[in-house]
């Protein structure tokens, strides 16, 4: 066992244990750690904005005398900041409208060109591949799994008769997918715990 001699590792261990202490019950150590996290996260939003966005994209061009090249985004950015001044808050809507409109446009482009078209193309598979039973079976699963899942989410028609049967098969696929997601989620959460335990045992306590 080689206990860490770095004060910073001890600080990190303190915050790690403070958060873990919540598992026993809510307590001042946890509340303190949580408050530090919330406050510094808010500060990061400003720091990231300055160092990754405003400085390279607005400040530097302006400092080199090239203000005209960035005049529109500069105005929009300033309008965005009017949100913090109640009297002229409404002006920020212009900038937000720009961001929302762009987001909507990019959303349509992404969904249409980036999802619907290639994904539908991927679903048009041959239902009979001669000499390859495995591929044939998989293609059936793939095509009808997709179609029946969509059927289950089609709410404009009552789920009855043949349509209802298709939807019932759809729900089987959906349950398998949710099961897979659930299994993977457990896997991910456990990995995160492993990461912290490794830190405590390795970097702090020096046991491994």
């Amino acid at each position: 066992m080689h206990l860490s001699t770095s004060i910073w590792v001890w600080v990190a261990a303190f915050f790690t244990l403070a958060i873990f202490s919540f598992l026993y019950k809510d307590n001042p150590f946890y509340k303190f750690a949580e408050s530090v996290f919330v406050g510094s996260s808010a500060a990061f939003a400003f720091l990231n904005l300055w160092f990754f966005d405003v400085k390279p994209k607005l400040w530097d061009p302006i400092a080199s005398g090239n203000i005209l090249a960035v005049i529109v985004p500069l105005i929009l950015s300033i309008l965005m900041l009017t949100r913090f001044i109640p009297q002229i808050k409404w002006l920020s809507r212009w900038a937000i409208a720009f961001a929302v409109g762009m987001g909507a446009g990019l959303g349509i482009v992404g969904m249409l060109n980036g999802y619907l078209v290639p994904q539908l193309k991927g679903t048009f598979l041959p239902l009979w591949v001669s000499g390859d039973l495995a591929t044939t079976v998989n293609n059936w699963f793939l095509v009808f799994g997709t179609v029946f899942t969509i059927t289950y989410f089609y709410f404009s028609k009552p789920i009855k008769g043949k349509f209802g049967a298709a939807a019932k098969v759809g729900i089987v696929f959906i349950m398998v997918a949710f099961g897979a997601s659930f299994g993977y989620t457990i896997m991910a959460r456990v990995s995160l715990l492993i990461g912290r335990i490794y830190f405590l045992l390795h970097s702090w306590l020096g046991l491994i």
Partner: protein, 261 residues
């Protein structure tokens, strides 16, 4: 004016982006490039919206000396300390994340990283507790979900196939238990015979299934992920994509205006 101009802005921006997908030629490709470069700058500012209310809320708590005000003070203080430390260290070394910045080497790596990582690590405890408490085979669908999740969890770790055998047989025994309870409860002789046949069938299937999964668990997990799981995810996402397109169109056409409130 207060409403029309924003609607017009979002209409123009959204429409130009969509047109430029179908007509990637001048002038639209140039317009798209310009709009994107503006958007990259402006969208950064959306991350700080709402932070004023967080700070005001905590400031108010301190001012009124309400319960837990010392923690509200901690929020404000850590905001200020992080900001000042970041700015000083960032300006001195050229960037907050410069390899020689004290902000990165001490604050980020030894305070922020453990805080954020541990916040998410405690979720593993909650999910374990939830698995124990809520993950019940209440219906056929729930059972299917449970079985898939278990196969995946075992299929992705070493020794999973060895553990799967007892797990599978315990599951068979549990199902047999439920079926036996049903047999006891029912009065009709034919239903009883049906249940007994079902039990025998289950055991008959379980033997080769165990053998197959022991040798091919990893491949079986891959198959579940690649085929049925994938098909359902695609079906769900296709629905979401259509919905997403509809919402985006409503925004561009000014029908959906909740962002203006």
């Amino acid at each position: 004016m207060k409403r029309e101009i924003p609607l017009l802005i979002s209409f123009i921006a959204g429409t130009l982006i969509v047109i430029s997908l179908f007509v990637p030629h001048p002038p639209f490709n140039k317009m798209e490039e310009t709009l994107n470069s503006w958007y990259i700058i402006v969208s950064g500012f959306t991350f700080i919206l709402g932070i004023d209310s967080l700070l005001l809320y905590n400031w108010d708590k301190i001012r009124r000396k309400s319960k837990d005000w010392p923690f509200a003070l901690t929020v404000i203080l850590s905001f200020v300390v992080t900001l000042v430390w970041g700015i000083v260290s960032g300006v001195r070394t050229g960037h907050i994340f410069s390899t020689n910045s004290t902000f990165r080497n001490y604050f980020y790596l030894y305070i922020y990283v453990p805080l954020q990582a541990t916040m998410f690590a405690i979720l593993s405890f909650f999910i374990a507790s939830a698995a124990y408490r809520a993950f019940r085979a209440r219906s056929l669908n729930a059972t299917l979900l449970l079985i898939t999740a278990s196969i995946i969890m075992l299929g992705r770790v070493p020794l999973g196939n060895a553990v799967l055998i007892p797990v599978l047989w315990i599951a068979v025994l549990l199902i047999a238990w439920v079926v036996l309870l049903e047999i006891k409860a029912t009065t009709s002789a034919s239903t009883r015979v049906g249940y007994i046949l079902m039990l025998i069938l289950m055991v008959v299937i379980a033997v080769p299934l165990t053998k197959f999964l022991y040798g091919n668990l990893s491949a079986a997990t891959d198959w579940i992920m690649d085929i049925p799981q994938m098909a359902a995810k695609r079906g769900i996402m296709l629905g979401l994509a259509l919905g997403g397109i509809a919402v985006s169109l409503r925004i561009i056409l000014g029908i959906e205006r909740s962002y203006m409130s």
